[in-house]
Every structure is written in C-alpha cells, then in structure tokens.
C-alpha cells in the first residue's frame, strides 16, 4: 500500500519495534517498550485498558507527533513519559534510563493553560529556575530573551488572565524551554486556538526547535498540524491504543506555510487521514456493537 511513502504498517503480522528504533536523527532517545496501562476501576466498574502492546522509539532531536481518535490513549502515553503516571506493564525510558517520576529533563506544555494565575508572566517562566536556587542574574536575562523570541516582549509584568489564549500558550512554551529540557512534551497545545494563531504557533515551535533541538513528543488531533511540524507521525488505533501507522515527513526544516500546498504534504495528509478515519470508525463500530448487545 502506497509504497512510495516510507510507511511502516505496524498492524502487519510481524511487529518489528526495532525497525522503528532509529529515526533520521540518530540513536533512540525515548523508548516505550511493550507498554500496558490499565486504569483502576472506578466504583466497581471494570478497569480501562488505555494502552496495550504500545511500542515506540523516538530518536534524539526528532519532532514526533501522535494522532488518533479521542480516548485512544494519547494523553496516557504522554503522562507515562512525563512521569505523571506509572505503567502497568513495560518500561518507558529516556536515554536508556527508566522513568520513575517527573523531571526537569522532560518539560510539559499542557493543553489548557496551566500557568499560575497568581504569578506574573516573568515569575511563571522563571519559577523552576528560582526554586532550583539559580541566581536571578542568570535566569532573568535568559527569560527576557526567550519571551522576546516568543513575541511577548513587554508582557513580563502582566498576569496570565490579561493575555489571550495564544499568548498564554507562548508563555507555557517559554516556561518549558527555559531549562533546555532533553524532551519537550506537548498535549494538544494549540487545540483551543483559532487556525490563524495555530499556524503561527506551529512556525514558532519549529523556529524555537532550531535553538537546541530537543526531542519533541507532540499530541494533536489535527493531521495537518502533525505533518507540518513533524519528522515522524504515528497514528494510533482505538482503545486499547497501539501504533497503527508510522510515517516519516522528509521535507527539510525550517518549513513555512508553503509546505502545506506541496505534493508531499498532500500525499501524507491523504494517507494519515485514511488511517485516522479507520481507527475512529472501528471505535464507533465497537461502541455501536456494545449498544446493540
């Protein structure tokens, strides 16, 4: 199927996780090894198997996106990588080290603004550095520079509620990047923004990535967004979530909006949309079957 694309159909009988282990950027950095995640039952109901046989390798410095139907376990995967949740089976590792909890190595940008409303923009961005005992002379200059880069010069003393949704997300990104994390985790960070703002944020993200080239683990339900920013896009199956399809995006970075109308973009979009649609349809059928029973 569509052999001119570098597709890797993991639904094929033989699962070959090692085939995914080396991205274009070098050795594997993030590794999900045969993960199972079951959420405990609430009020006597059956537990939810969110992820099963979830296997993934992300190369160092790679921008990696996950798309898939709602409830397929995307946020669950991110929470495991962030260290917010523990796996039921299997190990998530970064640089060969199993994850035991949150760390400043793995910065997170949340979907909904999670800025602290009692702190100014500047204090939000620098809270981590301050708490680590770094001298203000060192981090303040860096924060100012970073806020300038995300287009928020002059907003240092504002409070989060005085900013638009897009500006708040830029503050979150600045807060995540100031510690130069090894991995940047983003859970539908632009999901609540209008399409104009979104495109600008995507370009901004690519520009910022050029700085120190962190590995980016990006969740979105927008296939176009995934292609635009990523080196690789993975489609997940419906629950329990597994990798259904993995495609590489070869266009060189930095990219601008003209990439959206290129043949490569359009081909990939077609393939990915079809896979996402299949996954969503199977979820829908499973639900309908459950109702009919």
């Amino acid at each position: 199927m569509l052999s001119y694309l570098s597709l890797h159909d993991v639904n094929a009988p033989t699962i070959a996780p090692t085939g995914l282990a080396h991205g274009v950027h070098g050795p594997s950095d993030v590794r999900f090894q045969d993960i199972k995640k079951v959420y405990g039952s609430v009020r006597g109901g059956a537990g939810t198997v969110a992820l099963e046989s979830f296997d993934l390798s992300i190369a160092s410095g790679e921008i990696f996106s996950i798309v898939g139907p709602t409830g397929c376990g995307k946020s669950t995967a991110l929470n495991l990588l962030a260290g917010f949740e523990a796996t039921t089976e299997g190990v998530v590792a970064v640089g060969g080290q199993a994850i035991v909890g949150p760390s400043i190595d793995r910065a997170v940008v949340f979907q909904h603004p999670s800025l602290f409303p009692w702190l100014s923009v500047m204090d939000n961005v620098t809270l981590g550095q301050k708490c680590r005992g770094e001298p203000a002379s060192r981090y303040e200059e860096r924060a100012r520079h970073l806020l300038h880069e995300v287009g928020l010069r002059g907003f240092e003393k504002h409070y989060p509620y005085q900013l638009s949704g897009g500006m708040q997300q830029r503050v979150q990104i600045a807060r995540a990047l100031i510690g130069e994390p090894r991995v940047l985790l983003m859970d539908e960070p632009f999901g609540a923004l209008d399409s104009q703002t979104r495109l600008m944020m995507q370009e901004l993200l690519l520009r910022l990535w050029q700085g120190f080239k962190p590995t980016i683990f990006f969740i979105t339900h927008d296939v176009g967004e995934a292609i635009f920013i990523s080196d690789r896009v993975v489609v997940m199956t419906g629950r329990p979530g597994r990798v259904k399809l993995s495609v590489e995006v070869k266009a060189p970075k930095p990219r601008d909006y003209s990439f959206i109308s290129s043949p490569e973009f359009i081909d990939l979009q077609g393939t990915l949309l079809q896979a996402v649609h299949e996954a969503a349809a199977s979820v829908y059928e499973a639900q309908a079957g459950g109702v009919l029973k």
Binding site: G83, I104, A107, F116, L119, G128, C131
Partner: protein, 280 residues
C-alpha cells in the same frame, strides 16, 4: 367589551418598554437610588408606627426616644461601663479568637489537605464536627473554662478554627492537577510545591473560610455574652431587655449589625487586594 379590555392593557405594556430599558441603561445610578428609597420608606414606616399608638406603650421606641437614649449611652455608658468599652470588649473577644483560629487553622488545613496522611487523619473527624452549631459548645466551654474571658475566647477560637480549617483543607485538596504536575516537571520539591503552589492556589478558598469564620465569630461572641458576662454588647442588650430599657436593646442590635457589616467589608477589601486573579 372585548376590544375595550384589550386596549387599556396594551397601552401600559407599550409604555413600559422604553422606561424599563432606560432603567436598565442607567443601572449605576438607579441602584443606589432604589436602596436609598427603600431605607427611607423603612424609616418612615418606623416613625409612623412608633408614634401612632397602635402598638403597646414602649414596645417600639420612637426615633426621638432612640436618639435620647443614644446620647445617654454615649455619654454615661451602660451600667458603669462606657459604650465604647462594651463595643471594645466584644470586638476584642471576637477578634482574638478569630485570629488564633486563623493562625492555627490555615496552616493545619493546608497541610491536611495536601498530604494523604493528614487527609485520612482529619477528614472523618471534620465531617462529624462541622455540622455542629458552635453555640452548642457553650455549656461545655463554661464547664471547662468558667465564665471568664478564657472560655469566650476559646469558644470563638474553636468556631473560627473549624471553618478556616475546613476551607483551607478543601482549597489545598482541590488544587488543579495541572498546577501540581507543572510544578513537579519544573523540579519543585515537595515543600516548594506546598509554599509556592498549594498555598497561593488555596487563597481564594481560604478567604471564603475567613468570611464565614468572621461572621460566626461575631455572632457567637454576642450569643456567649447574652448569659454569663458583665460587659459587652451581648450583655448590654440582654440586660437592657430584662430591665425593659427597650431603646438600648434596639441601639445595641443596630451596633452589632453595623460592626458585623464593617468586619465583612474589611475582609472583602483584603480579598480584592490580595486575590486579584479571582474569577478570571
């Protein structure tokens, strides 16, 4: 007949429309005006009722009786204690108990709300104690501490502590998960999370507790003074009622109301100054 009925009812409707929208537009002006009108009406009703002779003599003092008695209270005091000292002692009892309750209730509530152990330790006890009206403890407090100052302050402390603790606890326990996760990813230690995230995030809820605790402290001090006190506003009104000095009772009640209002305004003022992010 039918057409006659329709027309007059249609006209006021049509006329009411523009005037109601005018009322809506000048909201800022009409609201205080309406309040002033209602207060004025109340005063007029009081003056006519009290001077009309409909009610038995002395039950409802006239405005002039009130003002005479007020002058007397302000210059001579009540039962050898000046009016200001009656007010002062009530305020002192209420505020000292309140402050002690806050000083202990806020940190303890934050701790028990933040830590799993604390939560498990105090939650069941709190759930039992919370619905008990504070004045139900008066007999016990009198038994343990007698009729002196200690007993009253302990009672107010207990009242304030309960409400402040409950609110600080639930404020800390309900801090959004995303705040805590963000804090952990930023490398904050557990103590840093407590002081820099849990505490500020709980402040709006803490203020809810402060407002309730303040109102109750004031209510409970008056209740405690009704029996077993020689000074204070509660003592003044109950003693004046026993000796049938009705104007003093009314003045005492009005002062209690005014001070309760001022205390509430003071906390609301603090809240708007500190919690600038509330509701945004």
């Amino acid at each position: 007949m039918t057409s006659n009925n329709i027309q007059p009812s249609a006209r006021p409707n049509a006329a009411a429309k523009p005037s109601s929208s005018a009322l809506f537009m000048s909201d800022a002006l009409t609201k205080p005006l309406l309040s002033a009108v209602s207060i004025l009406v109340l005063l007029v009703v009081w003056a006519t009722l009290s001077t009309s002779g409909i009610l038995p003599q002395g039950y409802l003092p006239t405005p002039s009786e009130i003002s005479q008695d007020f002058t007397l209270l302000a210059t001579q005091g009540y039962k050898g204690v000046s009016l200001y000292d009656h007010i002062g002692i009530s305020l002192f009892r209420a505020l000292s108990g309140f402050v002690l309750g806050v000083l202990l209730g806020v940190p303890l509530g934050l701790l028990t709300g933040f830590t799993k152990t604390g939560n498990a330790l105090v939650s069941p006890i709190m759930a039992f104690l919370r619905p008990i009206p504070p004045i139900a403890f008066i007999p016990m407090v009198v038994l343990y501490f007698g009729l002196g100052e200690t007993g009253k302050v302990v009672l107010i402390f207990w009242t304030a502590f309960n409400y402040v603790h409950v609110n600080a606890h639930s404020g800390a326990a309900n801090v959004p998960l995303a705040y805590l996760r963000a804090a952990k990813s930023l490398g904050l230690t557990r103590w840093q999370q407590f002081f820099r995230i849990i505490f500020p995030a709980a402040i709006p809820q803490i203020f809810t507790g402060l407002r309730v605790a303040m109102a109750l402290s004031w209510a409970v001090v008056v209740a405690a003074e009704l029996t077993g006190a020689q000074e204070g506003l509660g003592y003044m009104i109950s003693d004046a009622a026993l000796t049938f000095r009705i104007p003093t009772v009314f003045i005492g009640i009005a002062i209690i109301g005014a001070i309760g209002l001022l205390l509430n305004l003071a906390i609301e003022y603090l809240e708007t100054r500190i919690v600038h992010w509330r509701g945004r």
